[in-house]
């Protein structure tokens, strides 16, 4: 990747990281979008979109409910999307496994970093309590600005780290992989579809809802069989 492509990817990852909770929560941070955005930085969108679709299956397990600490899929997806786009000529299954592994670890780390940002926001609010209780609009604006800045810094760092780590790990897996490439392919399918299957079962809950889910799987099997022909 060129320096300009890296800069665009990091800027995109920062924006996407902000989207998760701070502004505007329009789901640019979902992997299927973020992977595409990252790959657009390299001018080859399809590999990023493909890795985004795989990561989207993992992300189905993530419902960004309330105050819980959720994985942040956006910055990592942008980073690995950009790296996939940079290998537009094709990427080995083992290299792809390395990229997905880094995106998953980045999502987990992103959740912890969000927690740190929220704690820093809490400290700032505690320090400004008197001004808030006095109805000071300037204090409110300052807290909003600082919160945005903290989250932007988090997203920037997470994207940059995921870019660096993704390059190293996927390169290592692509070069030093001694086993069959099918092993990597099978592991990717088992983990991504397995996590999505579990998420679907959880989502469906109990009773009639599970029938809808089972019906959906049936329809999917028929459609998949049609695709295979």
């Amino acid at each position: 990747m060129t320096l300009l492509q890296v800069a665009i990817a990091v800027a995109a990852g920062t924006f996407v990281g902000l989207d998760l909770a701070s502004v505007p929560q329009a789901m640019f941070s979902r992997p299927i979008v973020a992977g595409l955005i990252g790959a657009l930085a390299t001018g080859h969108p399809l590999p990023g979109l493909a890795i985004g679709a795989i990561l989207e299956l993992f992300a189905m397990d993530t419902l960004p409910v309330g105050a819980s600490r959720n994985p942040d899929w956006g910055p990592g997806s942008v980073a690995v999307g950009a790296l996939a786009g940079a290998h537009a000529e094709g990427i080995l299954a083992s290299g792809l496994l390395g990229l997905v592994l880094v995106a998953v670890v980045a999502a987990w780390a992103g959740g912890w970093m969000s927690h740190a940002v929220r704690r820093a926001n809490t400290d700032a609010v505690s320090a400004t309590r008197a001004a808030l209780e006095a109805g000071d609009a300037a204090a409110v604006r300052a807290l909003q600005r600082e919160g945005l800045l903290r989250d932007a810094t988090r997203s920037f760092a997470l994207t940059a780290l995921a870019l660096g780590l993704g390059d190293i790990v996927s390169g290592f897996f692509a070069r030093s992989w001694a086993g069959p490439q099918t092993l990597a392919q099978v592991a990717l399918v088992a983990t991504s579809v397995g996590v999505a299957l579990f998420a679907g079962v959880q989502l469906a809950g109990a009773g009639r809802q599970r029938l809808w889910f089972a019906g959906g799987i049936g329809a999917g099997v028929l459609a998949a069989a049609a695709l295979l022909r």
Binding site: F58, A134, G135, T191, L227
Partner: protein, 245 residues
């Protein structure tokens, strides 16, 4: 509502200063502030300051539905309602708005749109799959934001009635089954797409792996989430592939 556009725009940043003390409270006050300037005495007046202090206190709900509480609180402030009633209103709305939003958006509409995008991608929609996702999801998202703020402003302290609207009840009935069907349909399609060109043995091994992964998650869920477990399985596979004899 005075400053409707500015309040609506600021609602998109309601979680910018999210914290463990007041949660969305600071963002709530920031969103309500442009409308509070219409209080007697204007911005900087005593009523304005007292109202802003109230509106920055603890609040937490679904971000898309928070506008309902902002609209209702601002209306109550401008109508000169008792401060205690306004505070009770904000507190009372937290639970229902959080619950409705989580159920409709996080647990239904988001998985529906994500699964639809995966299905569209597998069927060759390429970039349009991501565009479809954003368009579908945000059509509902934006309508909800505008409706919530408007409904809150129009109803004021009687805002609870908006939560039992027939449209919301209908969406509650339809959204969850739709999500289940689409997520279910996406799974076999994603499976086949990822294994295109693979041999029959690889397909069998992957199918077995999918079931093992789902069972592992069910067993270990309390100790490790899907993300951690997936990372462990991928890392172990990576090391195995590297050390392959």
């Amino acid at each position: 509502m005075p400053g409707f556009g500015r309040v609506l725009a600021r609602l998109f940043t309601i979680q910018a200063a999210w914290n463990y003390e007041r949660m969305q409270g600071v963002g709530f006050g920031h969103a309500a502030e442009p409308a509070l300037r219409s209080l007697d005495g204007g911005a900087g007046g005593e009523r304005y300051k007292a109202a802003l202090a109230r509106q920055t206190r603890f609040f937490n709900a679904h971000p898309y539905f928070a506008g309902l509480a902002v609209g209702a609180s601002v209306r109550a402030e401008l109508d000169g309602e008792q401060p205690e009633r306004i505070e009770r209103l904000r507190e009372a709305l937290c639970g229902p708005l959080g619950s409705i939003g989580d159920r409709l958006f996080w647990a239904s509409w988001l998985p529906t749109c994500a699964a639809a995008a995966v299905v569209a991608f597998v069927f060759g929609a390429r970039i349009w799959a991501a565009v479809l996702f954003l368009a579908l999801y945000n059509a509902a998202h934006l309508v909800c934001r505008v409706w919530a703020l408007r409904a809150g402003w129009e109803r004021g302290l009687q805002v609870a009635g908006a939560l039992s609207s027939p449209a919301l009840r209908w969406m509650g009935r339809v959204a969850a089954p739709l999500a289940s069907v689409l997520v279910g349909a996406a799974l076999p399609l994603a499976f086949v797409w990822q294994l295109r060109g693979a041999a029959g043995g690889a397909r069998l091994a992957a199918a077995l792996g999918v079931v093992v992964m789902a069972v592992l998650l069910r067993v270990a869920r309390a100790r490790a989430g899907g993300v951690v477990l997936a990372a462990v399985v991928l890392a172990v596979t990576g090391i195995t592939g590297w050390l392959w004899w």
